[in-house]
């Protein structure tokens, strides 16, 4: 069966003033439909660049990206805009429209898709209910906490009814408890809507908590990829070992305890 997302020989080189940076070097991998796919690696490993290539926010220098069998790099600008409506993205710093209230933020992708205002508002209110923020509909982002802002961003991304959700360090600006609640929300979204999720994180705990599969990046290269259980229990490459072993005190403690048990059970 054709995998849902297929990345083939992806390369991305930046030409900056102080020389060229090969941020992504010949990476190939596949993501199945409904997976929660983690991408881990040290700072500067190329995680963000890789994920930004998945919706062409960054144009690859070479290589192919297939989503549901369609090659993204071969789409016209118009087709790409439509394809992007199907690939949501949430960010470390939320990136909400600061001059719009919560409800209108959630309506934004619906405006882009040309949905009528009334229908859009109704749908947006339902989504705010999903993320448990109905009572903040009229508030402005400046009046919300980080966790609440990320919930708005999630409701906003769901509005377009995407098949894929890309998360670039979506919980890195949040405290452990808020992180846990956001991760639970992502998991619920994955289950309820069957959305394929790609999460970049530097917290191994996040991977253990929600991911089904994981890819390890180092210096722009894909070192290892596979099911979380395999990679975490028996990492094959040095890069993966370093990351998994050096996994210091867990941040999402409670959540991790359960999961490590599972992993241990599996290993034993």
């Amino acid at each position: 069966m054709e995998p849902f997302i297929r990345v083939e020989n992806l390369c991305k080189t930046f030409f900056a003033k102080n020389g060229r940076v090969e941020a992504v070097k010949d990476i190939s991998f596949e993501i199945g439909k409904g997976d929660i796919f983690g991408i881990i690696g040290l700072s500067g490993a190329g995680k963000s660049t890789l994920v930004r290539c998945l919706n062409l926010l960054e144009r690859p220098s070479s290589g192919k990206i297939y989503v549901d069998g369609r090659s993204l790099t071969d789409l016209s600008e118009r087709e790409l805009r439509r394809a992007r409506q199907n690939i949501g993205m949430i960010f470390q710093h939320f990136n909400l429209l600061m001059q719009r209230n919560v409800l209108d933020n959630v309506c934004f992708p619906l405006e882009i898709a040309g949905v009528k205002k009334r229908a859009a508002r109704k749908h947006a209110m339902e989504l705010l209910e999903t993320v448990e923020l109905s009572e903040k509909a009229k508030a402005y982002p400046a009046q919300l906490s980080g966790g609440q802002k990320q919930r708005v961003a999630i409701a906003r991304v769901l509005a377009a009814n995407p098949d894929i959700l890309l998360c670039d360090e979506a919980t890195s600006a949040l405290d452990p408890r808020t992180t846990k609640s956001i991760l639970e929300l992502l998991k619920e979204i994955n289950l309820r809507y069957g959305i394929t999720i790609v999460v970049i994180t530097h917290e191994m705990a996040v991977v253990r908590e929600i991911c089904t599969h994981v890819a390890v990046l180092e210096n722009g290269r894909l070192e290892e990829t596979g099911a979380v259980k395999d990679v975490f229990c028996s990492p094959k490459t040095e890069a993966a070992k370093r990351l998994v072993m050096n996994d210091g005190p867990d941040i999402v403690t409670a959540a991790v305890d359960e999961n490590t048990k599972e992993v241990e059970d599996f290993a034993g």
Binding site: R82, G88, N95
Partner: protein, 221 residues
């Protein structure tokens, strides 16, 4: 104390100054706003980088901004005559005022739009928003308070320039100040015109700042 004829003259002068300022600001934005948008969009970090277009507008706006206003006033007289039909009076002054103000306004608009968080623009792109949607619903909407502060500054600056235009028969308060204060040594009338100018600037600035604060949703309230 000025007599009633003088008072009427001052009142008319004030109206003429306001007319020149507001009309020039309006047309200044008709030209300067699109120009500022194009500058912000075609910049290297913009949403549609285009070196040629950017450099062209950049060059053009820098040239006009470096010509002293009094010289510009004289340079554009043929154009003024062609548009307004005469080269003196309030309406005629609007032409050089607009030409001087447009590049300056474009620069302010450009700066305001560039203040918009790159991440928010990127979020819109990731949702599949097109260029015009991003300009209208992200850049202009998110930068609105900064844009309004820009309008306030533009009004103040244009008001000052309009007074300068008075020196060459442009009408308005500047004209009165020059005629009475300089040619006839009636410094009392000159002082009154200055006071009126200061009050006008204060009122316009006050309104602008109040509006931009009112419209800003980034602060808790």
């Amino acid at each position: 104390m000025p007599d009633s004829a003088t008072l009427i003259m001052l009142l008319e002068g004030t109206c003429a100054t306001l007319y020149m300022t507001l009309v020039s600001t309006l047309f200044g934005y008709v030209l300067g706003l699109p120009m500022g948008i194009v500058l912000a969009v075609t910049d290297r970090e913009g949403i549609k980088p285009n070196k040629f277009v950017y450099k062209l507008l950049d060059f053009f706006s820098n040239i006009i901004r470096s010509i002293p206003f009094l010289i510009l006033l004289i340079l554009v007289i043929p154009l003024t005559k062609a548009i307004v039909g005469k080269s003196y009076g309030s309406s005629a002054t609007v032409v050089p005022l607009v030409i001087a103000a447009a590049p300056f306004i474009a620069r302010m608009v450009e700066a305001s739009l560039k203040e918009v968080d790159k991440g928010v623009v990127e979020a819109a792109q990731s949702m599949g928003a097109g260029m015009f949607t991003i300009i209208y619903k992200v850049l202009l909407a998110e930068a609105r308070t900064s844009l309004l502060v820009g309008v306030t500054i533009a009004v103040g600056t244009i008001l000052g320039y309009s007074a300068m235009a008075g020196a060459v028969g442009g009408g308005g308060l500047g004209d009165i100040a020059v005629r009475y204060g300089y040619h006839r040594y009636q410094s009392d009338i000159m002082i009154i015109t200055i006071v009126i100018l200061v009050v006008l600037v204060q009122i316009l600035q006050g309104i602008g700042m109040l509006l931009s604060k009112r419209l800003d949703r980034r602060v808790n309230k």
